[in-house]
Amino acid sequence: MADEKKYTTVSIPKPLYDKIKKRIEGTGFTSVSDYVTYVLREVLASLEEEEKEEVFTEEEEEKVKERLRALGYLD
């Protein structure tokens, strides 16, 4: 179904599960799965941040700089 998000199951050690369950008490997280999803997204995003910056071709970069100079954005 298009409106159903597909989920899968991963295993984590039971003591860790229990620690997380205790940790999320009284927070906005309604389940251990929600919390684990949140943390994994955060971790993956920070790893991706560290990956190499996008590089433009020299020719493309020079063309853009020319336009930026013409418009007064660059000296």
């Binding site: 997204r41 990956e51 996008e54 930026l68």
Partner: protein, 379 residues
Amino acid sequence: MVSKPHGGKLVRRLVAERTRERILSEQKEYPSVKIDHGRAIDLENIAHGVYSPLKGFLTSDDFQSVLNHMRLSDDTPWTIPIVIDIVEKTFDVGDAVLLYYEDIPIARMHVEEIYTYDKKEFAQKVFKTTDPNHPGVAKVYSLGKYLVGGEIELLNEVPNPFAKYTLRPVETRILFKERGWRTIVAFQTRNAPHVGHEYVQKAALTFVDGIFINPVLGKKKKGDYKDDVIIKAYETLFEHYYPKNAATLATVRYEMRYAGPREAIHHAIMRKNFGATHFIVGRDHAGVSDYYGPYEAWDMFENFPDLGITPMFIREAFYCRKCGGMVNAKICPHPKEFHVHISGTKLRKMIMAGEQPPEYMMRPEVYKVIRSFEKPFVE
């Protein structure tokens, strides 16, 4: 280092010149679809990477995922459905169609899917209301019966009276790099600046290398500042009150949805694609009337630890007679009777009446430039 594009790679959907010429010479062979100005500038934003990672209009999987989870089906944060509608099916899945704005063929679209949808569900989930008085909801209700999903390629730019002020993500990224900015805060606006805006911007700029003022140009409501007034007012403010190497001004064309918290995330994503690392989230950001709480947009950011741009929550500024300057509720200890809130509506009324606002509300140079326009407001 400037932000990585949303989804990892800056999308560019521009066809090579020879392909463009060939498509245009064969244009009568394609089914055609007429689109409005808002969809035409959505197309441009897709093609130039402002909406990265979108390569086209949403298919039903992505559409449903955005409605229900505020993410694309691959889990990338995405809160506003970018869709194109048709009233009846005049072409099939697998066709390539040409999208026309007025008489200009703007783009070729490869039709991946034609699907029906529930307008009330669309409205409720995106705008948190089904009230037709909400401008975003009214727009959804006016759409055709079907949505069409598929990738696009840009053939022609939409006519733009402010082309010289309109920078694309590839340009701002190179500009920020050339200026040596590693941290950039973006500010979204639809107004000529008053001193409250300046306070918020400078408070944010204190913590980063540069500020990117990015006014949204496009369809406006009666009584709003005209686009050229906003640009000139900011140019004047920059000239007199901003450090030359720490601020830049460029516009983006975009049709406001007024979806409050969801749209605040969308605005942040667009600025991430321009290369900004931080984004100022204002009071009642992208709201209209009283459909959303004044700081509801701030809470929304908690749902996106993987957004890839840092929100800066800066409280509304006001003038305090006791402090003798611009402050906010967090830093001012004085009671309300000392506070003067700067109302955009009140300022507009003063300007229309030819009455110069006090300097703690609007810089005299900004007032002067607004008054230099015979008709500074949309009629």
